[in-house]
Amino acid sequence: MTDVQEVITRVHRAEWARVVATLARRFGDLDLAEEMAAEAFATAVAHWPVAGVPPNPGGWLTTTAHRKAIDRLRREAKREEKHQEALMLSHPPEPRGVIDDDRLRLIFTCCHPALAMEARVALTLRMVGGLTVAEIARAFLVQESAMSRRITRAKAKIKAARIPYRVPLREDLPDRVSGVLAVLYLIFNEGYLASDPAKEAVRGDLTAEAIRLTRLLHELLPTDGEVAGLLALMLLTEARRPARVSASGELVTIDAQDRSRWDRALIAEGHALVRARLASGQAPGRYQILAAINAVHTDARDARDTDWSQVVALYDQLLRLDPSPIVRLNRAIAIAELDGPQAALAEVDRLPLANYHPYHATRADLLRRLGRRQEARAAYDRAITLTGNTAAAAYLIRRRDQLGEP
């Protein structure tokens, strides 16, 4: 009994997107695809414990959902006398070969630039990820009814504005892929950074979901460097999670983390992806460079062994693609290790990031290392006020209090 439930959970994770995507193409209707996929899984939950798990669970689910959709359309056709339309839609299932493309179509449709970012995130988690509306609402701390409306509105816009259910044309592809990656990275960060303390309980679910979806995209677009780069970046970030927060709930910075607690399997997988990208000889994009920086960090057995000149070189490369103050701030942190806190502070002081808590946390640390305790205290205070993350606040308060009395 429990075994069957485990199988159903696993099959749901593996097959949901495929079932929805196939139905969406066959019937041209995301609503119908979503509802019938959900009904097919509900039927599985009722039947499999009694009748046993079918030999091809994915095929069984697709067929079941497909039949249910046809039944639904026939019923509606009878009621609304739109028989002609239903007959047109009930053409026989197409061969399985193009099904993977259907999932890609589904991803590109859910992440279409005509939709608002929050709608893209919600729709992707529901339609591709198979999370329930309640789960998505909980993760983003909104009422279930509000999340439900958000998803309904997005689907209505897709239908009314005729957002096409297709993989974009070749000339649009890089742009559209980077749009999808932005959605996936936002889901990951929402889980990883959890700026709201009340979200922390569910944040692991979101990072795991983001990694799963990025893996799927990497499977579907294996030669896209940025997809591989984002997957590597997520894996190398996720690998450090066990060491990132102390037992007392305080953030542990990377130099102080217990590296034996890092997830070696995730690191190995991330490094392999980064190496494959380097071997490709193609110019890396943003995510690949960020992944490479994380590869340098996770390559060092001890924080003192970090190759900081390599980190600075990678940030220089990133600055050429993205000359933003946040990239310059991160580069300055590496400069502090390479050329000392004075050089880094000179960089940091030029940045227009007065409302960004890592800016003040970085300044505080540099000022502390330079022995400028008064200024360091003020910077810690500012960072503590600005951070919404409890673990980060706990760390900053301890560092501030270690400065001693003013």
């Binding site: 009314a160 504005a161 096409p164 649009d172």
Partner: protein, 110 residues
């Protein structure tokens, strides 16, 4: 094929330069040639508008626009496109040619 309305957002009337008008004409010719063009036109100032309410026994005519706003619709295209990706591309070209921001909106159930 679906139909879309591309409205041109403007804050002054009849403000298009000769160069912009020439670019718009050229764009309109291209739309027709590619089978996307349905209708295009520029509108006179909102102050020339009349609001008409014919729902009662006698129609009521009110001078002026129904809404005073900084920006209004200075002109529009109605285009035909198979789906939104094509419509977006055409709207971007329209915006470029008339040198104004535009709003792209699908017609109901077309």
């Amino acid at each position: 094929m679906a139909q879309y309305l591309i409205s041109v957002l403007d804050d002054t009337t009849n403000s298009a330069t000769a160069k912009e008008i020439a670019a718009i004409d050229e764009f309109n010719r291209q739309l027709k040639a590619d089978g996307h063009g349905v209708f295009a036109g520029g509108l006179a100032a909102p102050s020339t508008a009349t609001v008409v309410d014919g729902r009662g026994d006698e129609p009521v005519f009110t001078d002026g626009p129904y809404l005073e706003s900084k920006e209004y619709i200075g002109g529009f295209w109605i285009i035909e496109a198979p789906h939104l990706d094509v419509a977006r591309r055409l709207a971007a070209l329209g915006s470029k040619h008339c040198n104004r921001r535009v709003e792209l909106r699908p017609f109901l159930g077309a």
